[in-house]
Symmetry: C2
């Protein structure tokens, strides 16, 4: 999916919601366990119930890998069920030396090799340029690079300042922006720190930002929008647990839709404040 | 596998060789392609031919994921074929927020969840403490944390110096050593820079170091040993392509054994220089 299509989708749906499919087989309604692939059935029902309210689905690969081969089967099936008009994100946090990153890129971007055809993958920056560039060779695919994450440990290294008083996450953005433009590169920025978006936007005025940490992790959508929205919207705000586990009963998909709609409405208010049409 | 067992193995085998199973289905001998799982058959023959000469096998997960479900099947089968006396490394470069890293830990360390029971996993440090600690909760399992990698892009961020003139890779080691001791924590240090081991050993005198980059990537075993060996050996030197693709013909396992033996003999010379008995 290219940038124009993504922006069109945001305008049409009045939403920049990303639904996170961090699906834990131990947390889904028990009646699904008799299905041949309970996790895929769960995801399918979540997608059916929410796809007109969100512009993206993010699959957290860890939750699938933890179940071995069966989990990988659920992952492939789910990735192929994401509607074409929604940006599919493999939240995989990959990154390795060049020839290995190329293999990871095939895993998520090349359906002939792997059976999966995501639009984007999250990548860890620690290993530098040649660990990221192989993902950028695929047309209309995106790298979503970790910049400032939402977890407590993010302060351990991401906030280290160099001799010019620049934090590591700033160096990451400044450097990575020389590898690709905002049509191909997004950044992960945690929502737990609204004012940090000011710094991010200084270095990345045009890039889309994938924002986890609204909801279960405690960030405020209003703060994120105040500091993070740009003329193309420029935000994908993720919610996982608050949507997919809105109910633990047979009505889980209905409740997921209600929660997704609640967030979509909040997003519409923010887009209206911003005169985004 | 605990540290004492690893050191015993090194003493017994006079080797600190790690064989890297970066197995690409497009590079293995064609006669294997008629097997039901060609990559596993290849790995099995490599392991059968080399397990008395090495103390570890490193599986690069990217090469398996690139083949989707079939690749994940080869990964699980291979992981279970690694002999108990060899340290099994999932070279997966994972790392995410706490509850997600816990899922990755289950993927590689919990056979009841995932079918895999590796001894160790490589982890990327960018997200900090809570992204690493879940892997450390598993008894007798190791985290192998990226410190100074062997690729060109490693200089982009790993060499950034803070206000106290400390490079990021030094901060990573100094900080991570407060999370676990040298019985549970190793570091990845690229062999392309022999003298860098002096700096590493200043911060990590006791930790084992996993050293890629000897052979295809151009590092010298003698330099690595001069600066990197410690009283417990403290090194695992990986070779992947030079061993597994030593021949492209039906004699690939025989030639792999010859190359592994050549490296083991070189290692024995270095251990003797160091009076390591």
């Amino acid at each position: 999916m290219n940038r124009n299509t993504l922006i069109e989708q945001i305008k049409t749906k009045r939403s920049f919601l990303c639904v996170g499919l961090d699906t834990d087989i131990n947390k889904i309604p028990r009646f699904l366990l008799e299905k041949s692939d309970p996790v895929f059935e769960f995801n399918k029902m979540i997608i059916d119930a929410t796809h007109d309210l969100c512009v993206s689905y993010k699959i957290n690969t860890a939750f699938y890998e933890s179940r071995g081969i069966a989990g990988w089967q659920s992952l492939v099936a789910t990735s192929n069920y994401i509607p074409k008009e929604c940006l599919g994100i493999a939240d995989a946090k990959r990154g390795d030396i060049g020839n290995t990153s190329e293999m990871y890129a095939r895993a998520f971007f090349d359906p002939e090799a792997s059976g999966m055809n995501f639009d984007s993958v999250t990548v860890a920056p620690y290993m530098g340029s040649d660990s990221v560039k192989p993902f950028l060779r695929f047309r209309d695919k995106w790298v979503i690079l970790l910049a400032l994450t939402s977890n407590e440990g993010s302060a351990d290294f991401q906030n280290i300042k160099n001799g010019q008083n620049e934090s590591l996450f700033e160096s990451v953005i400044r450097t990575a922006n020389t590898w690709a433009d905002a049509d191909r590169l997004m950044y992960v920025v945690g929502a737990t720190r609204g004012e940090a978006f000011l710094t991010i936007r200084k270095h990345a005025p045009d890039n889309f930002l994938l924002v986890p940490g609204v909801g279960a992790q405690g960030g405020s959508l209003q703060d994120v929008c105040r500091y993070g929205l740009n003329r193309d919207c420029g935000l994908l705000v993720n919610s996982s647990r608050a949507i997919i586990y809105a109910s633990g009963g047979e009505d889980f998909a209905v409740k997921a839709r209600e929660e997704a709609m609640r967030l979509q409405k909040e997003m519409e208010v923010e887009l209206n404040k911003f005169n985004f049409y």
